[in-house]
Amino acid sequence: MLEVQDLTVHYDGAMALNRVNLEVGDGQFVGVVGPNGSGKSTLLRALSGILTEVEPGKKERPSLSGSILFEGKEISKLKAWQITKLGIIHCPERRRPFAEMTTLENLEMGAYLRKDKKDVRKDLERVYELFPILKERANQMSRTLSGGEQQMLAIARALMSKPKLLLIDEPSLGLAPILKETVLKTIKEIWSSGVTILLVEQDVAITLATAQKIYILAHGRMVTHGAKEELMKDRDIREVYLGL
């Protein structure tokens, strides 16, 4: 479904990603782990096109080279809104709900591009089933939600965009352990409903427990990848990168 080859990203001359290769198969659950600053968010932002958009206040745009194929189509030159239309939905780091909108309005923003109004209604019901708390908070300003609720809202908003491939950036960031599990459980549920998932995490345990295939990213390079069992077999990897 997604094939990334030799993806290299520079910020103002500093390299953030160095010839990264990545493959996500149709219906797979792929995880990327790496410490802070290893380039995880950069990778997702490159995939969703947000990276190369003009950002006001930034002197230079990050430069990107390499190829990103989505369903056989080269998307590395496309704009963020075109990529979203193809079905790659980015659930950004730090949640970023629209603070001055209610929960419901946030969800409607997620469905902004869609024309199938009837299905949007159905999806809203489905999202409420997945996150019952959001239904209770439907008319509450999203800035008054707790951290966990905001994370659920961010994922729910991405779901409303009807993703084929969902990119999730550090959903566990700043959440209590019990909430982490709830969020992870719902991500798994979303996956089993047929959405392909690319999850990016600092939390190794979480990723190992959920993803089918795991990539290890360090200093902008893909060190290795494989299923949990394969990675655990290698003692160096286990100790150096996974810290287990």
Partner: protein, 368 residues
């Protein structure tokens, strides 16, 4: 029994009186404005109200761009001036009638906004404010530049632009102008209000709120920002060419900083981001600055036998600024916003769900 009946009648009366929605208030306000010419307040007051309405169109256009989309513009004089000068040029060189010059001025103004939008995509916040501030100053110097005097008329600009109703006698012409401008304000503000509360308007707010999240929702942020600039400049240049035809004058001060700051003051007075606030703001401004300070105060001084010193003009500006400062500090969300918030709180307290049970409870108590 009788007492409880009266109580119910009273509570349902208060519920209805205080439940007047802002939209209805706005309608009443326009009705009031419609009857103004019949009050025989004299042509000077009518002129003032015409200016207030023109300023209101100008400020509402600014509010859509800044209050809703978050693209801070301190250079709206650019569009105001372009509106006036386009009218002036078309009349001077092609002697086109007013119903051609105004649409043309508005179209050119919108085009200017469209073009200005592109460099403005790269900056935000204070940088955007500074860049936008520079544009009208550049144009102001351009039209004053002596080699171009045969075209733009130098410091004097264009005089003797055609009035709206040349065939009417003076007093009737003013009245007709008043109604025309009022109609244009009515239409412009409704159009802008509708846009602000449409799906497009929600997207504008989302860009103001969080640009990255908007992009993650698949919004073409560039397109919406440019659209906001275009719509805003469309109405700002409409205000500019209306003023040019009312004053029969288009001159370099139309590009001045004063004009750029005007919508800022008016919008903050009324309430930023509300769309209706700037209209209230421009009435407060015109009444304070052009009526109370310029007419009532000198008259009051005369009646006790004093005359105002000539330096008062400077003091006037100072006093006016102080008043505006106090108003903005006291009601930071704007006067109109403050008023509607009060109304809406009452409305909420009389929420339909609660109202029934409450009345019913009271009724039961008094019955036994």
């Amino acid at each position: 029994m009788v007492r409880s009946y009266f109580r119910r009648a009273y509570s349902s009366f208060t519920a209805h009186v205080f439940d007047i929605p802002p939209r209805f208030m706005a309608f009443l306000f326009f009705l009031l404005l419609l009857t103004v010419p019949a009050m025989q307040l004299g042509s000077y007051v009518l002129r003032l109200l015409i200016m207030a309405n023109i300023f209101a169109i100008f400020a509402v256009s600014w509010d859509l761009l800044v209050g809703r989309t978050g693209q801070i513009s301190l250079g709206h004089a650019l569009f105001f001036g372009i509106g006036g000068y386009t009218s002036g040029l078309l009349f001077q060189f092609f002697a086109l009638p007013i119903w051609v010059t105004i649409p043309a001025a508005v179209a050119i103004g919108a085009l200017a906004g469209f073009l200005i939008g592109f460099p403005c995509l790269r900056v935000k916040g204070p940088y955007l404010a500074l860049i936008t501030m520079a544009f009208p100053l550049i144009l102001s110097n351009l039209v004053k530049w002596s080699p171009l005097e045969p075209i733009f008329g130098g410091e004097l600009g264009f005089r003797s632009l055609p009035p709206f109703f040349p065939f009417l006698p003076f007093t009737q012409a003013i009245m007709a102008e008043y109604y025309l401008i009022l109609l244009l304000l009515f239409v412009s503000s409704i159009v802008i209000y509708k846009i602000a509360n449409s799906k497009t308007g929600i997207v504008f707010v989302s860009i103001l709120d969080d640009e990255v999240a908007s992009k993650a929702c698949g919004i073409n942020v560039t397109r919406y920002k440019i659209f906001a600039f275009t719509i805003s400049s469309f109405f700002a240049s409409l205000a500019g060419c209306l003023q040019a035809h009312i004053l029969k004058l288009a001159n370099p001060p139309m590009f001045s900083l004063d004009i750029s700051f005007l919508p800022v003051i008016l919008t903050f007075l009324g309430g930023i981001g509300t769309i209706y606030g700037p209209i209230v703001g421009s009435y407060i401004y015109v009444i304070l600055d052009r009526y109370i300070m310029s007419i009532l105060l000198p008259k009051a001084f005369e009646s006790v036998g004093w005359t105002l010193p000539r330096e008062f003009d400077f003091a006037k500006l100072l006093i006016f600024t102080l008043i505006v400062l106090v108003l903005i500090i006291k009601w930071p969300r704007g006067l109109a916003r403050f008023a509607t918030d009060e109304l809406q709180n009452l409305e909420e307290a009389r929420d339909l769900d609660e109202r029934g049970p409450r009345i019913w409870k009271r009724y039961k108590k008094t019955k036994h």
